[in-house]
């Protein structure tokens, strides 16, 4: 079962959050604390995973490829994908779902690309919190990504 979906931009701001409750109703969460806490955990884990793998190259050109993919708590699993441009896609599910990397990639390479990047009227650099343009409010993106996530066999 999938619980929620978040996107953070390269400025560490949450630009999209979506909660899927009871496998049915969908709410936009207004609780930005959850997003911040989640980001904090992921940020720290990402740093640690980078430090655990030593690279021989000290030019700083290629950070380690020891990338974070997911982490598990007692009842949740958070799946994580970071694009090379610093966009972070996160799906929170229960612990029965092992791997959502292809799903995260699809959300980035199809839904985000088609509805946000290709859409000249939609910004790609979102403004800081509390501004009306600080989130993805693009109707097509919301409808299509919801439909895609809900069509997954693992959704419920």
């Amino acid at each position: 079962m999938i619980h929620s979906f978040f996107i953070f931009d390269r400025h560490c701001n949450c630009i999209y959050s979506r909660e899927y409750t009871n496998g049915d109703a969908i709410n936009k969460t207004n609780d930005s604390d959850t997003a911040k806490l989640l980001f904090g955990i992921l940020y720290s884990l990402k740093n640690i995973s980078g430090k655990l793998a030593h690279t021989n190259d000290d030019s700083g050109f290629a950070p380690s490829n020891n990338t974070l993919k997911s982490f598990t708590l007692g009842t949740y699993r958070a799946h994580y994908l970071e694009s090379m441009t610093g966009l972070k896609f996160i799906l929170v599910s229960d612990t029965h779902i092992d791997n959502l990397q292809p799903v995260l990639w699809e959300l980035y390479s199809t839904h985000y690309l088609k509805n946000v990047v290709h859409n000249g009227l939609s910004p790609v650099e979102f403004l800081a919190e509390n501004d009306p343009y600080s989130k993805i409010s693009n109707h097509n993106f919301i409808v299509q990504s919801d439909a895609y996530i809900q069509s997954l066999p693992v959704y419920r």
């Binding site: 390269r10 940020y43 050109f61 090379m84 441009t85």
Partner: protein
């Protein structure tokens, strides 16, 4: 890598190349009129337009190619020429003139350059007709944490022997840190 570029090229939506060339030409011509033939300003505008294209184009490039982070600037330039130019313009520029520290090099656009066809520029040394390419490269590279200076040094439209873009890697940008973390 060239083979991969070919495969992706086969599957992208294409437009008529003459339409593309003429559309770009009209944009440059209109900019020249708008800025009263102040070619420095036209170059700046083209560069800025390219930058705005580049910061979006990089996402499309990464999505289509699934490219991973490169291990060196040499590899980055190879990806740009063999995949980037191939997928979006169907040309494969040559890479020349590496500096000894491996931080700057030249990209030489092959002839015919799809942007340059049918083009005659006014008798001025100031206008860099394809400046938009520099902006695109600068914007796209900036989004993957590479701060690179990009500019033209030679253009066959001005009677030079080749069309050459110079790239210089300034620094690798750090990921941003969330507020309140040090």
């Amino acid at each position: 890598m060239s083979k991969k570029g070919d495969d992706i090229w086969k599957n992208v939506d294409k437009i008529n190349s003459e339409l593309f060339t003429l559309t770009y030409g009209s944009i440059v011509a209109q900019l020249c009129r708008d800025f009263n033939h102040n070619y420095h300003e036209v170059n700046n505008q083209l560069d800025q337009m390219g930058y705005n294209i580049g910061i979006r184009l990089i996402e499309e490039f990464l999505s289509r190619t699934g490219a991973q982070r490169c291990q060196s600037f040499k590899e980055t330039v190879e990806v740009i020429t063999k995949l980037g130019f191939r997928v979006f313009l169907n040309i494969q520029p040559a890479v020349e003139n590496w500096s000894s520290d491996g931080r700057s090099c030249s990209i030489v656009l092959p002839e015919p350059n799809p942007l340059n066809e049918f083009v005659e520029i006014p008798p001025t040394k100031d206008l860099w007709y394809c400046q938009i390419l520099c902006g695109i490269l600068r914007g796209a590279l900036q989004m993957i944490q590479l701060d690179v200076d990009v500019n033209f040094v030679k253009d066959t439209l001005k009677g030079d022997d080749k069309t050459e873009i110079r790239l210089k890697l300034n620094k690798i940008l750090k990921d941003e840190v969330p507020a309140g973390e040090d």
